[in-house]
């Protein structure tokens, strides 16, 4: 069919995949050979092929999270060959294509590793900690209806663009997976700084940053060592500057807010 690279030859690969029955049981790396992989396949399509083979042989297929396969829903994960979302920068696993691997390669596939992201099964982890952090304050407290006209709140283009750059976070958790401390700073700061930049978000900025950081700590994520691994591995390029903005927001909120408890 219309493969983009007609010269690309099918590849044979060896996969080493983390298998774990459920949250309680111990897991281990299991080796699977896969044959005849087209370079135009996506990484997840390659796993589909393996899973179909496993199924036909009556074996339990490998569970992994995925949904949109367009790089936007943030559901896919996988620590591939020592890096979150694999070797390509700015790419989610679902948008990683097999043309970036070579015939005969051995590929290791592991789940995100963090105390705050316990493994459900195989490569599927529980990222509900992210939701709880957002619930702690990642919103503007407006009810539906009764809001001003959209153009009543002018926002400079550069601010709107910067806010968008932060808001583009897909919540996949690659930042946590990449960080040596399993820190969630990049994820949390993206929302904090998006809201802090916009006039709509400024009203509750202090409470928001205090509560979101507190929840982040409760969830058991590590602290930030400013290694920059998170931003380097972020598939949508969330900037480290957001962490600085969050630090600033947090310190000034703690110094000036009226929450004494």
């Amino acid at each position: 069919m219309a493969g983009s690279n007609p010269n690309a030859k099918p590849m044979d690969l060896t996969l080493k995949v983390w298998r774990q029955k459920n949250r309680e049981s111990a897991g281990s790396m299991v080796t699977y050979p896969v044959k005849g992989i087209s370079p135009d396949m996506s990484f997840l399509e390659m796993l589909d092929v393996l899973n179909e083979d496993l199924l036909r042989g009556g074996q339990d297929p490998i569970a992994f999270d995925h949904d949109c396969r367009e790089g936007i829903c943030g559901m896919c994960s996988l620590y591939i060959n020592g890096r979150p979302h694999g070797p390509e920068r700015g790419t989610t696993t679902c948008q990683l294509h097999m043309r970036h691997f070579n015939d005969g390669d051995t590929i290791t596939i592991e789940p995100w590793r963090a105390a705050a992201f316990p493994v459900h099964k195989d490569l599927v982890v529980d990222r509900s900690a992210f939701d709880r952090i957002q619930q702690a304050g990642g919103y503007v407290s407006v009810n539906t209806g009764g809001v001003p006209d959209a153009n009543a709140i002018p926002i400079g283009k550069s601010i709107a663009d910067k806010a968008f750059d932060a808001a583009t976070c897909i919540g996949c958790g690659a930042c946590v997976a990449a960080c040596k401390n399993a820190s969630a700073m990049l994820f949390v700061s993206a929302k904090v700084s998006q809201m802090a930049m916009l006039p709509q978000g400024k009203v509750e900025a202090k409470t928001r940053v205090e509560n979101m950081v507190a929840q982040m700590d409760v969830e058991g994520f590590g602290a930030c060592s400013n290694t920059g691994a998170c931003a380097a591995e972020c598939p949508v390029g969330i900037s480290l500057e957001n962490i600085a903005i969050m630090n600033r927001e947090y310190l000034s909120a703690k110094a000036t807010s009226e929450h004494v408890a």
Binding site: Y79, R113, A223, S225, T227, A229, A244, M246
Partner: protein
Amino acid sequence: MNWFTKTFSSTLGRKFIMSITGLFLCSFLVVHLVGNLTLFRQDGGEAFNIYSHFMANNPIIRTMEFVLVAGFLFHIYDAIVLTRRNKAARPVGYANSHPEQNSTWSSRNMGLLGTIILVFLLVHLWNFFVPARFGELEGVPNADYLNLYSEVVLAFKNPIYVALYVIAMVALAYHLIHGFQSAFQSLGLTHKKYTPFIQKFGYAFSVLICLGFAAIPLYFFFFV
């Protein structure tokens, strides 16, 4: 816990303390190095001994000594607390991991670098601070100060000491290369205009300070 202790026991609060104490310790390094440079004066140690006498007796310096000790203690204590927390945040590690592809070695090994510096610091205090402060040094004839200079000359003829000092200064350089600019990030002091300067300045600062310190033992070992 009240808001104050809550703030400074949060991950962000502890990083705030790490950066404030870190930058304060950087300022100490500058003062210390400026004083130590008197060792290069060809005056038989007179300027250095006067300087060390001043440091040991000036009331403001003596007061600052407590602040300095507190700075070290907070820096070390928070480093330990944070490191333990960070380890606990990933109880199961990766079988195959390539962090070198997304971050610098020094940024990932601040704890190791800090530990080397701490070991050095203890040896260093034992060598110079303890004798200077607790009076095991001999006096300088016709002067009211002690001869720390002769102690320095003696110590830096020992190749093991010299090697330890040089290694420690390399560790300090790497610690500072990451730590200096990282402190500004932790304090939220970033700006398109100034951050590039801070990063370059931090790099130059780290290298020059450590070169300055390392030059002293090497100078005494080879040339005095």
